[in-house]
């Protein structure tokens, strides 16, 4: 059952990621990226990461992609913007470099160095466990992240001001 779900949703994730890269229209790319994020959320559930799966859907598919769609529709890009094909040689070179990177990554994964998996402890991946870690071992990174978010809010408002 797990491998069935893995192949289904992994396949959809890869297909929609390819569509993100190949769609001419930015709105289409954003919609397929949302689909890809939902599939990754299902994969997180398969990996027993319940809390991460929920914030994947809420924060990524919900908040961040809505922001992307807002900006795409605000910009009102002309069709000419999307349709041009220039620098075909550079694009082929870029795709070839990506394939070389993929081969390198797969080669690194194939080396049989990973030990056997450790059996999971009780309550693995739940909100309680994440909260315990977040407020004990990782308290300082948690607080720093809140400062980072504050800086991002101020920065975004200043950059998006009309008179800038």
């Amino acid at each position: 059952m797990e491998s069935f779900l893995f192949y289904i949703f992994g396949g959809i994730a890869v297909a929609s990621a390819l569509l993100v890269v190949t769609r001419r229209n930015a709105v289409g790319s954003a919609i397929f990226l949302i689909l890809c994020f939902f599939c990754l959320g299902v994969l997180y559930l398969l990996l027993q990461a319940h809390f991460v799966a929920v914030i994947q859907v809420l924060v990524y598919a919900g908040a961040i992609m809505v922001l992307f769609l807002f900006v795409i529709m605000l910009l009102n890009l002309s069709q000419i913007e999307f349709g041009r094909i220039r620098n075909l040689a550079l694009k082929v070179l870029g795709a070839a470099l990506g394939v070389v990177l993929l081969i390198n990554i797969l080669g690194a994964i194939n080396r049989p160095q990973l030990s056997e998996g450790v059996p999971l402890s009780e309550g693995f991946g739940g909100t309680a466990q994440v909260g315990m870690l977040l407020f004990s071992k990782y308290l300082i990174p948690f607080e720093v992240a809140s400062v980072l978010l504050l800086a991002a809010i101020v920065g975004a408002i200043i950059l998006a001001r009309r008179e800038f």
Partner: protein
């Protein structure tokens, strides 16, 4: 039972697709979305390793990466908006005011 290698291979494929998108697309917003795709590929391998080693620190790292991605999306999209107001384009080949 799906082994951790399966998840790592899927993560590698998604990351490579993101890299191809960044290298081949010229629309700044789509380049941005491909960067988000790469971040998600890394998140997947973090979660896969977290289950493999029964160590929930990986989930905290994913949490932090999502925080940084949200901040990056907000600031980056604001920059794209400001550039579009000044230059009337989001083509990364034509955004070269910092070049010289």
């Amino acid at each position: 039972m799906v082994s951790v290698e399966h998840y790592l291979i899927l993560s590698g494929i998604l990351f490579a697709i993101g890299v191809i998108g960044v290298l081949t697309r010229r629309n700044a917003i789509i380049v941005f979305m491909c960067i988000e795709l790469m971040l998600n590929a890394v998140n997947l391998s973090f979660v896969a390793f977290a289950r493999h080693f029964n160590d929930m620190s990986g989930h905290i790292f994913v949490f932090m990466i999502m925080t940084v991605a949200a901040a990056e999306a907000a600031v980056g999209l604001a920059i794209i908006l400001a550039i579009f107001r000044n230059r009337e384009t989001v083509d990364v080949d034509e955004i070269n005011i910092m070049k010289w």
